[in-house]
Symmetry: C2
């Protein structure tokens, strides 16, 4: 079961004597990771013809790892829009076997390194955009509840145009898309933003092709994502592009993420809505089902989990519209 | 379909003319929320007999809203451990129709308001623990990659004991549990922490009953959670306790959360592990299935989504162990 390098694996910091089943979980993880194709030694994969020219223009050697990731905080910033992506890249560094892959920089969108957050506590950036003159590999603009109301300085917009033109890829988390749009960087591109601000983005910038559904969208070298937690999904996808699926998986497990949402996943989670109906035990049952798709369900097992009688469960779930999956309410063979 | 108060709902900041289907989604959400039983006007529900005495001791009137939530940042703090919970409580304030329910305070565990984070950028707390003399309603200790190595000052431990003794509830996110254990606050209690530090917690503190499985555990008025994103699940549960399921649901949707994990959910997501196998399209298919449990699946629909032929998909998924849900590989009726 256990492979030779298993106990040197970053996941296995010590032997789990008390919980032998934990050892077996790590063993299974290790098998999965060992099977996954490793990334091609930090090669920068161009995403498109357009981008290939861009990358080649600067020369591949000119951007050795660690790659500079700039996360631009526009006040009053939503802290998770900044720190969700930042922690994904930082964990990727940590898990990349002592070879930092990213140089993560939090960049203030004002002339001051201290950025107000909508929580009240300020956030201290590594530098202001003025001080950030070096080329950037990945530029992400983080938004917040107020990014769309802010009067953005023409200098910042000019800096964004210059940096995104040179970067391998750029994009936004949440209402950061409104800032990129203000800089004219989204015209004619397919983008998304937090569902609550899609209409505003579309009305202010009619040339932008806004799609309010997906968790994130990639249009050539432009990546835009929905709000808050979606920034984590987007960043995991960027890490996978750079360092391969195995590392992205380890980062996701370190962050105790439930599942990796693909770009096409809807911002309007049907599972979350189904969980809103009916009693708490039924909601918890739905979460359990979503994590145990491969189990063989029987109405009696499920009813026991929901602390209901096997006769009541299907009827109750029908009545509350928190319908059980089809395979469950009418079990197969 | 649309109810009278629907357009005054905080979700519906404007009319979605361009995407009429968005209007219908909000309408459905509104129906769900309207159906959900409202919370009993901010009443502090005691969780147990023990706690009832505690609450009654201070008197119900003595803790009017906003309730003080103190999130203690122990350096080098993991930013998401602090800001995940902080944003949940802040969003609850924002969505509670102009009546702030919480007074969220980020508290430094050192004598300095500036707390180092493991990302490098510092975090500025509202106050240090010295300056936090007021009673607290909810005390949460946020951890980080270094919390377990830090030499904690006896004064901080004494402060934690004093504050948690008076608080209605207290707990930890991630390795914050190691700090609470150091203060002797977990002896004899059932707790969890990030899977990577469970063994360490158990070895250092043999009296603590560590369970490395759950996302979070509630033991009377003590709440401990797994790492990073699990802090969001825990905080949503606390908001639900205080303000009801409808508001917790709105917060989850505002944060674009995929599903609300109950405490009993495993830290080791089977769905995440299944996503690690096989090609990307199959991984994305699994995420889609988890969000569409109520759809009627056919092999041909699924194969089209995974860009595979209907004949290859089941065989491929068997071979890669990324097995499709049973109801799918052998469809019913």
């Amino acid at each position: 079961m256990l492979k030779s390098s298993y106990h040197q694996h970053p996941f296995v910091l010590r032997k789990y004597q008390k919980w032998p089943w934990l050892d077996s979980i790590f063993g299974r993880w290790h098998d999965v990771i060992a099977e996954t194709k490793p990334a091609k030694a930090m090669a920068i994969k161009p995403h498109s013809k357009h981008e290939k020219q861009l990358v080649t223009g600067r020369g591949r050697v000119a951007v050795p790892p660690p790659r500079r990731v700039a996360i631009v905080a526009v006040p009053p910033v939503r802290t998770l829009d900044v720190f969700g992506p930042a922690e994904v890249f930082a964990d990727a560094n940590h898990l990349n076997r002592g070879e930092p892959a990213y140089d993560v920089q939090v960049v203030s969108a004002t002339e001051n390194r201290t950025v107000t957050s909508y929580l009240g506590v300020p956030l201290v950036a590594d530098r202001t955009y003025h001080e950030m003159r070096q080329p950037v590999d990945t530029l992400l603009v983080a938004g917040g509840e107020g990014a769309q109301q802010m009067r953005l300085s023409p200098k910042l917009l000019e800096w964004l145009r210059r940096q995104s033109g040179k970067a391998r890829r750029y994009g936004s988390v949440c209402t950061g898309a409104l800032v990129l749009a203000e800089a004219g960087l989204l015209d004619g591109r397919r983008v998304t933003t937090h569902w609550n601000w899609c209409q505003e983005l579309q009305q202010k910038h009619p040339k932008v092709k806004v799609d309010p559904r997906p968790i994130y969208i990639r249009d050539k070298n432009l990546f835009t994502s929905a709000g808050v937690t979606a920034g984590i999904d987007l960043s995991l996808a960027l890490v996978e592009d750079d360092l391969g699926g195995a590392l992205a998986l380890q980062v996701a497990q370190m962050m105790v993420v439930f599942l990796r949402r693909p770009g096409g996943q809807s911002q309007f989670s049907a599972t979350l809505m189904a969980q809103a109906r009916g009693r708490r035990s039924l909601r918890d049952l739905l979460a359990w089902v979503a994590d145990n798709l491969q189990s063989k369900f029987s109405i009696s097992t499920l009813a026991r989990r929901a602390a209901m009688s096997p006769r009541n469960l299907p009827a109750y779930s029908e009545r509350k519209s928190a319908k059980l999956p089809r395979g469950i309410s009418r079990p197969c063979g």
